[in-house]
C-alpha cells in the first residue's frame, strides 16, 4: 500500500506546487492594477501600457507586488488555499452554523446534482442491461442496435442538451431533474451496454453445454450462468457509467437557466465574475465523482468476494 501511495503523493505534491507557482504570473496584472489604484509605485504606470509588457518582465520590475497576486478577491487563478477556504466556507462552515441546506451551500447544490446523477445512472444502467440482454438473445437486435449504439456516442450530447430541456418543458415536465437525468442516462448507458454484452457472452461453450445436459431452460441458464458470469463486467462498467452520468448532469446544468446544481454554480460564478465560486464547484464535482467511484469500487470488492470470484 505504502509502495503504491508514495509515487501518487509525489505527483500530487508536484501538481499543487506547479499550480502555486503559476499563480504569480497569472495574477500579476490584476495585482498591479489594484496596487496602483491604492497609490503604490508601479513600473510601467497605467494598465494600458502594461498590456504590451510580458508578465515575466512585470514580475521582475515589481517584485514587491508579486505577493499581492496571492490574495486577490477575484483572481484569474486562485491559490489552492483560497479554493480550499472557499469550499470550507460553503460546506463545513455552513454545517457548523446549521445552514447546510441554504441556497448558498455547496452541499445543497451537490445534493441536487447527485439526485439527477442517480436517476440518470439508474435509467442508463437499466437501459444498458436490457439492451445487452436483447442483443445477446436476438440476432436482429444484435445487428440493428449495436451500430446505432456506437453512433449515438459519437454525437456530442451537449448539442442536444438544450433541446432536451426545452422539449421536456414543452411536454409539461416541471423542473430540470428529468431532462438532466435523460442527458446523464444517454452518456452512461453505453459503457454498461458494451460490458454487459461482453459479460453475458463470457461463459464458455462447455459451460453452456453442461447446463444443456442438465436440461436447464433458457431462463435457468440465464439466471444461473450468464447473469452471475457478467457481474465482474457489470461493476467495471458501472464505475465508468457513474462518472459519465455525473458529467452528463453537469452538462445538463450548464445551458442558461439553471439555478441549482454544481453546474449552475459554475454558470452563475461565470456570470457574476466570481472565479472562486467556479473553482470550488469544480472541486466539489471532482470530490463527488471520486466518492461515487470509490463507493462502487468497495461494493464491487464485497460483492465479488461474496460470489466467490478470485481477484
Amino acid at each position: 500500500m505504502t509502495r503504491g501511495l508514495a509515487p501518487i503523493l509525489t505527483v500530487l505534491v508536484a501538481l499543487v506546487a506547479i499550480w502555486w507557482l503559476a499563480v504569480a504570473p497569472m495574477n500579476i496584472r490584476p495585482a498591479l492594477d489594484i496596487a496602483e489604484r491604492g497609490g503604490a509605485e508601479v513600473t510601467p504606470t497605467g494598465s494600458v501600457e502594461r498590456r504590451d509588457v510580458s508578465v515575466w518582465r512585470l514580475m521582475m520590475n515589481n517584485p514587491s507586488h508579486v505577493s499581492g497576486g496571492y490574495s486577490l478577491e477575484r483572481p484569474r487563478l486562485p491559490t489552492p488555499t483560497q479554493v480550499g477556504q472557499e469550499i470550507w466556507k460553503t460546506t463545513g462552515a455552513m454545517v457548523l452554523r446549521g445552514r447546510a441546506w441554504s441556497k448558498r451551500s455547496l452541499i445543497y447544490h451537490g445534493w441536487i446534482t447527485l439526485q439527477s446523477t442517480f436517476w440518470g445512472f439508474l435509467l442508463g444502467t437499466t437501459l444498458g442491461i436490457l439492451g445487452a440482454v436483447a442483443i445477446v438473445y436476438s440476432r436482429v437486435a444484435d445487428m440493428s442496435l449495436l451500430p446505432w449504439a456506437i453512433i449515438s456516442q459519437t454525437i456530442p450530447i451537449v448539442a442536444l442538451a438544450p433541446m432536451i430541456i426545452v422539449l421536456s418543458n414543452q411536454v409539461g415536465i416541471e423542473g430540470r431533474t428529468v431532462p438532466k437525468a435523460i442527458i446523464s442516462a444517454y452518456l452512461c448507458y453505453f459503457p454498461v451496454l458494451v460490458s454487459m454484452v461482453k459479460g453475458l457472452r463470457s461463459p464458455a461453450v462447455s459451460q453452456l453445454d453442461l447446463l444443456k445436459t442438465y436440461n436447464a431452460g433458457g431462463a435457468q441458464s440465464f439466471f444461473k450462468l450468464r447473469l452471475p458470469a457478467s457481474v465482474p463486467y457489470l461493476f467495471t462498467a458501472l464505475k465508468v457509467g457513474i462518472a459519465a452520468a455525473l458529467v452528463g448532469t453537469i452538462v445538463g446544468e450548464l445551458p442558461t437557466g439553471a439555478i441549482s446544481g454544481l453546474g449552475a454554480r459554475i454558470l452563475i460564478g461565470d456570470q457574476f465574475g466570481t472565479p472562486l465560486a467556479i473553482w470550488s464547484a469544480l472541486f466539489c464535482a471532482a470530490i463527488l465523482a471520486g466518492a461515487l467511484v470509490t463507493l462502487l469500487d468497495i461494493t464491487q470488492r464485497l460483492t465479488l468476494r461474496r460470489m466467490g470470484f478470485r481477484s
Partner: protein
C-alpha cells in the same frame, strides 16, 4: 391519423424485413450487415416524421425530419461558417495540440517507472472528472475567439490520451524486450520498433474517446461566450429565439461531424494496427 397508421405500418414491415434478413442464409454478407442497421435507422426517422405530422406537433417543439432537412439545405452557408469556427478552428486544433502534448508527455513520463506509478491513477481519475466545467475559466483566460475553445479541448483530450498511451507503452512482454536487448537495440530503436507499435491499439483507443470529447469541449465553451458564429453559439441563441429547426440542423451537423471524425480515426486505426487480433478475422 393516416400519418400515424402509415408510420406504424412501415415499422411493422421494416421489423419483419429485418427479422427475415437476420435469420436468413445471407445474414453474414456485408450488404446485409449494413442494410439491417440502415433499415432500423430509417424506421426511427419514419416513426418520428409520422408521429410529428399525425399528432400535428408544433414545429416550435419538435420539427419533423423532412423540415429539418429543408432548413439544412436552405442554410448551408450559416452552417458552414459555424462548422469552420467550431470544428476546424476550435475542436480540430485543440485535438491536435492536446494529442501531441499528451503523446510527448507520455513518452517522457514512461522513462521513469516512479512517475508512471504515480501518474496512472491520478490520470485515470482526472479522465473521469467533469472537466467541461473548466470552460468558463478558460474562456475568461483566452478570450471569446477560437483560442479559448481549443484550450478547453486540449485540457479535455489530454488525460484520456495520456493514460492510454502510458498504459500502451507498458504492454510489451519482457521476452520481447529481452529480444531487443540481444539485438543491442538502443532505447530509441526499442521505442520505435517494438513499444510504440505495441502501444498503438491503446493510443487509438484514447484518440477515439478524445474525438467525441473534442466536439463536446468546443461546443460547451461557446455557451460561455463566442463571436457571433459557431455551433454552440447558434444552438444556445436558437433555443432562446425559437429557431428550433435551425438548432436541429446544427445538431444534425454535429452528429455528422462526430461520426465522421470517429470514423476517420477508426479507419486509421485499422490501417495502423492491421496486425492486432481485434482487426483480423
Amino acid at each position: 391519423m393516416t400519418w400515424i397508421a402509415a408510420a406504424l405500418a412501415f415499422w411493422a414491415l421494416a421489423w419483419f424485413a429485418n427479422v427475415r434478413l437476420a435469420n436468413s442464409a445471407i445474414s453474414h454478407t456485408l450488404a446485409v450487415r449494413i442494410a439491417i442497421p440502415l433499415i432500423f435507422g430509417l424506421t426511427l426517422l419514419v416513426l418520428w416524421e409520422g408521429l410529428v405530422r399525425g399528432l400535428s406537433v408544433s414545429p416550435v417543439i419538435l420539427p419533423a425530419p423532412s423540415q429539418i432537412m429543408t432548413v439544412f439545405a436552405a442554410s448551408t452557408d450559416i452552417l458552414w461558417i459555424d462548422f469552420v469556427q467550431t470544428v476546424i478552428k476550435g475542436a480540430l486544433r485543440g485535438f491536435l495540440i492536446g494529442a501531441i502534448a499528451a503523446f510527448v508527455a507520455a513518452i517522457l513520463i514512461d522513462r521513469s517507472p516512479f512517475l508512471t506509478r504515480g501518474l496512472l491513477p491520478i490520470g485515470n481519475f482526472v479522465a473521469a472528472l467533469p472537466i467541461v466545467g473548466i470552460a468558463p475559466i478558460l474562456v475568461n483566460w483566452f478570450g471569446f475567439d477560437w483560442q479559448s475553445k481549443a484550450a478547453v479541448v486540449v485540457v479535455m483530450v489530454f488525460f484520456p490520451i495520456l493514460v492510454n498511451t502510458v498504459q500502451g507503452l507498458r504492454e510489451t512482454e519482457s521476452m520481447q524486450r529481452d529480444l531487443m536487448q540481444t539485438y543491442a537495440a538502443s532505447y530509441l530503436q526499442t521505442l520505435l520498433k517494438l513499444r510504440l507499435p505495441a502501444a498503438m491499439p491503446f493510443i487509438f483507443n484514447g484518440l477515439k474517446i478524445a474525438t467525441t470529447l473534442a466536439l463536446i469541449g468546443a461546443i460547451v465553451a461557446e455557451y460561455f461566450g463566442s463571436p457571433t458564429r459557431g455551433m454552440g453559439f447558434r444552438i444556445s441563441t436558437g433555443v432562446g429565439s425559437l429557431a428550433i429547426d435551425l438548432v436541429w440542423a446544427e445538431i444534425f451537423v454535429s452528429a455528422l461531424v462526430g461520426s465522421a471524425f470517429y470514423g476517420i480515426v477508426a479507419w486509421t486505426e485499422k490501417r495502423v494496427t492491421f496486425w492486432h487480433p481485434s482487426q483480423r478475422g
